[in-house]
């Protein structure tokens, strides 16, 4: 699905990603963990094309296409979705209007019919049930005045409506209470299929009890320094990142 090769990226002239290699196949769930400031969100933003980040080296193939050459909206049309660590507020624009505009753009780019308001509302209500979101959110302005947890849940609602091929969830679990975590995870699991893939960025092994990863990667200082199965997350939980740093020192 996606293949990241030797990816380097800067922000404000400072190198944050220093050679990322990662391959994700359809049907897989990958978890990325790592200390604060190690570059996890940067990787997510670079993959979705945020203009503040400059790629200096490397390439990314998404279903065979050069992802880095595409505009952010083209990546969205191709099926890349980012659940933001910090979802953005858009005052005065209703949640449903926003999401309908996005969905119809994506459909248009694929040669599908646009949905009219009735069709869309029906779909939206179905998806709101999946993430157990109250219908009052339909007409509220995008993320404005939402609580931290509501914003995160709204991200997953958007994912459910847009049905991406590759979903990147950047700390979607932070800010969610325990019940919400279960609901959101089960929502993510319901959307899983053999033809799509998920990358979850998280600090907590707890989330991975619900969204079970096939692979866990540890990102430190802009590099993936260790990869393994889901047990790696348990190891990190028990020992913190120090043991990895030690391993790195020893191998150096």
């Amino acid at each position: 699905m996606i293949e990241i090769k030797n990816l380097h990226a800067n922000v404000n002239g400072k190198e944050i990603l220093k050679g990322i290699n990662l391959k994700v196949n359809a049907g897989e769930v990958h978890a990325i963990m790592g200390p604060n400031g190690s570059g996890k969100s940067t990787l997510a933003q670079v993959l979705s094309g945020h203009p503040a980040y400059q790629v200096t080296q490397g390439e990314v193939l998404f279903e065979g296409q050069d992802l880095l050459d595409m505009e952010p909206e083209e990546r969205a049309h191709a099926g890349v979705f980012l659940a933001f660590q910090y979802p953005v507020e858009i005052p005065g624009v209703s949640n449903s209007y926003f999401l309908k505009a996005g969905l119809n753009e994506i459909r248009k780019s694929r040669g599908q019919e646009e949905l009219d308001s009735f069709q869309f509302l029906k779909l939206l209500k179905e998806k709101m049930k999946v993430v157990e979101m109250d219908q009052s959110f339909i007409n509220r302005p995008v993320n404005e005045g939402f609580s931290g947890g509501e914003k995160k849940r709204n991200e997953i609602l958007q994912m459910a409506v847009l049905e991406p091929k590759l979903a990147i969830l950047d700390e979607t679990d932070s800010g969610l209470d325990i019940d919400a975590l279960k609901i959101v995870s089960s929502g993510v699991n319901k959307l899983k299929s053999p033809s799509n893939a998920t990358i979850v960025v998280t600090h907590y092994q707890r989330l991975l009890n619900y969204i079970v990863p096939d692979f866990v990667h540890v990102l430190v200082h802009g590099r993936i320094v260790k990869s393994g199965g889901k047990e790696l997350a348990l190891e990190l939980e028990a020992n913190g990142y120090d043991f990895i740093r030690e391993e790195m020192l020893q191998s150096a």
Partner: protein, 478 residues
Amino acid sequence: MSESIEELVSQEYKYGFTTNIETDTIPPGLNEDVVRLISKKKNEPEWLTEWRLKAFRHWLTLEEPRWPNLTYAKIDYQSISYYSAPKQVKKLDSLDEVDPILLETYEKLGISLTEQKRLSGVAVDAVFDSVSVATTFKETLKEKGIIFCSFSEAVQEHPDLVRKYLGSVVPSSDNYFAALNSAVFSDGSFCYIPKGVRCPMELSTYFRINASNTGQFERTLIVADDGAYVSYLEGCTAPMRDENQLHAAVVEIVAMDNAEVKYSTVQNWYAGDKDGKGGIYNFVTKRGKCAGVNSKISWTQVETGSAITWKYPSVILQGDNSIGEFYSVAVVNNRQDADTGTKMLHIGKNTRSTIVSKGISAGRGNNTYRGLVSIGKNATGSRNYTQCDSMLIGNKCSANTFPYIEVKNSSSSVEHEASTSKIGEDQIFYCKQRGINTENAISMIINGFAKEVFKNLPMEFAVEAQKLLGISLEGSVG
């Protein structure tokens, strides 16, 4: 900001064409003879000629205001022609007699003057350069006793009404531009809604400047008698020309007991090119008087055009319990300057006013809100709520707010909120990540920002205004 927020600005002005039509234009220059000539061309009664002359003499004693936060080249009032009319001066009995070239011009502007073709119930008075060329739906309105016609016609047919109300809200001595207008105004619209009548359709005036080197000085006078209601729309466009053109209009509204007038403007005069060459200088005095008890006047304006805008639609709240409202969206892009706002003058008891101003600045535009809320000694129990929000697009534009407040009694209250925000790269990126391209993202964000104002516009006007906003900001973000 990256290229995204700095680029989108330059879609061509869609209404910039000119119409080739024979005109009766008087030579440039301004003196008492010119004022008399205009009055004579319009076959006006003597009192009106005298009224004009008085205004002119007063104008000579005034200085052009320099207090607005505007920068523009000095205007040479002697180089302007004060009267230009398409050469078909005889009175029209039906629209079929209107010069087809003119009909076509309005057609191109998206305004059909042919009544049977109009689906929506909007009556239009079309003003081309200095004169009104057509008014639609007159008969339908007449049945209800509503007078809706060009100002010139009103002077001929309803001189008593005109004489009674002309200058009653904006005296000819009010300010520099109002005095000038009073001396040389050429046409405009007149509207009278009799007692107890709800006007069954939107009334609208469409102003078009065509001739070059002319000024446009129109006057609108709207009177809503006891218990009457009317919603009035105003639209404006002008060709693209390299020279600046002067537009100095006066609008007066009178609302008697329990009457309500809604006045909506979508102002899209040519704004000049991206370097600030050409464009309309728009110096307008608009004022309404809530003369009666429980009366209400609301101004809603969407200002996207003009090189320079100087405009403060105001309400004199004289009747007890009267209500004044001002909802404004002002957009400046490229080199545009706008200094706009409102005055709410509370005189009667328990009067209420609401001001919602949304300023959007892009390019090197400079947007100023200037407002006065004055609550007099006798205006006990009065209230004002003011909200001024500014949005900046890019780093080279500016926004200013000058709210002046005077409260002279202790039972009244004034509330003021203000905010400045920047259309963020992050907001645009968020939209793009969901599949929405930059242009649509900006249009969506801006329309969200201006929503509180748009919802006060009549439906079809709101749709038009939203589109306009998208167009005038195209290129400001990319």
